[in-house]
Amino acid sequence: MPIADEQFAGLRKGLLEFAILTFVSGRASAYVGDILEALAPTPFATQEGTLYPLLSKLRREEFVDYQWVESGQGPPRKYYQLTDKGSGRLGELAAYWRHLTSTLESLGR
């Protein structure tokens, strides 16, 4: 498994955006802690150093937006939710992903 981890890192990295959009689409809103926690046990495990720049890019591309929400303890947090443009993008990604996998399967036949 560690070997696969190392070898397919680039593949996962390219799909991280897909994974994040999928996760955010599944709930009303999510903050960074939720995302990190949810991804931690998956192959898409990531860290703040990667996630913050990526989220800011997604926000700039208007796929996600955030709202400041007061938290019980500590300072207010940014809660991200998917925009309409974001769900459109997610649909495109999912369709393209299906296209890729079916292509790979048909190539093997």
Partner: protein
């Protein structure tokens, strides 16, 4: 003892040990560099600061108000390297996701660590090196000291001098052999270590050569100002030096301190026995040489013999401290050894005790004589 830096992370103040602060600043500098021209740079930096602040909070408690260097290295390890968008594409092919990075392990080295409750830092350093609790190391020293009749105490004493103190975050990381994820710090450590090992050995040698030259000059005109020669000799490299150099400097500092202390003791003994009995260890000055002349000759001989050793001692301490002048440490060390030896002699040797009492009588007589005359 560690200096504490108070910082402001997104409007909240946190107290960090200085190496922790250095590591954090290196991380943030690198983050900003990696984000480059990212239009949301300021916002991402704020988010990162907030995330670090949250993590700092989880390492603190009512009984612990300062974030230590090892806490910070763990926090930055959890944060992972910050990836800019330009870089992200390039890294995609190479190494991929941050958690899979092979953590950098610096060479594990024995350092002294001044941490909570450490007295000299020797035990804490050994504990960090071996990865065990410091209490075991302390118990080891006490038990072995009792069983070997104090021999290991001597080893301990030498280690205080010979083992360098870990004073930077890189050195602390090396002391623990801990993975250290703040890339910037690693890069700097590698770079500087390479540079130091190249230059510092040469520096140390050239300082010695320079000292020897100045000493020869001094020998020729050695009734001239002795202080000038000593200051020049103390011009040790004013930059941090490598581990091995510091170890040798520490050993030299130890050895030369003992030599200068021994010379001072010999001088004091000779001086007072001349004053009280007119002879040194059974040797009487020839003919009718007056005592004052013999004393002056003795003082000059002492100065001539001890000056090279005290200059070497001074250079060693200056190398250790990394400052140009070693301050008063070398002189204080000599005095401390003399006082210690004197105290032991007073307690354990009746002869030495009698001699010291005699010395006191000589001084007292001299003072009354002085009072009467003037």
């Amino acid at each position: 003892m560690e200096r504490v830096v108070t910082i402001n992370l997104n409007g909240n103040s946190y107290q960090l040990e200085e190496p922790a602060y250095d590591a954090l600043r290196a991380y943030m500098t690198r983050a900003e560099a990696a984000l480059g021209a990212n239009p949301d740079k300021a916002e991402i930096v704020r988010d990162l600061e907030q995330a670090i602040a949250d993590k700092c909070g989880s390492y603190l408690s009512p009984g612990k108000s300062v974030v230590s260097a090892s806490d910070m290295s763990r926090i930055l390890g959890e944060m992972g390297p910050v990836e800019g968008e330009a870089e992200a594409g390039a890294q995609q092919q190479q190494s991929g996701a941050a958690p899979n990075h092979e953590p950098f392990r610096p060479n594990r080295r024995l350092y002294r660590i001044y941490d909570n409750g450490a007295w000299t830092g020797v035990s804490a350093g050994m504990a960090a090196y071996a990865g065990i609790d410091v209490a075991w190391v302390r118990i080891f020293w006490i038990v072995s000291g009792l069983f070997t009749g104090g021999f290991t105490c001597l080893v301990y004493l030498v280690m205080i001098f010979a083992v360098p103190v870990a004073s930077t975050s890189e050195e602390l990381a090396a002391a623990h052999g801990a993975p250290f994820n703040a890339q910037e710090v690693i890069d700097r450590a590698k770079r500087e270590y390479g540079r130091f090992t190249e230059t510092s050995t040469a520096n140390w040698r050239s300082e010695e050569r320079r000292w020897r030259r100045s000493w020869r000059q001094q020998q020729r005109t050695w009734d001239a100002d002795r202080g000038a020669g000593a200051t020049q000799a103390a011009a040790a490299p004013a930059q941090p030096v490598g581990y091995v150099e510091r170890m040798f400097a520490g050993l030299f500092a130890f050895v030369f301190s003992i030599i200068t202390a021994a010379l001072l003791i010999a001088f004091l003994i000779a001086f007072f026995s001349l004053l009280s009995s007119g002879s040194v260890l059974g040797w009487t000055p020839p003919g009718d040489a007056p005592t004052w002349l013999v004393l002056i000759v003795l003082a000059i001989a002492y100065a001539a013999i001890s000056s090279p050793f005290s200059a070497l001692q001074r250079t060693s301490y200056a190398t250790l401290s990394g400052r140009r002048t070693g301050g008063a440490t070398d002189g204080l060390a000599t005095i401390a050894i003399v006082v210690l030896v004197g105290a032991f002699a007073w307690v354990y040797s009746p002869d030495a005790r009698a001699f010291m009492e005699q010395g006191y009588v000589v001084v007292r007589d001299f003072v009354t004589y002085w009072d009467r005359q003037w």
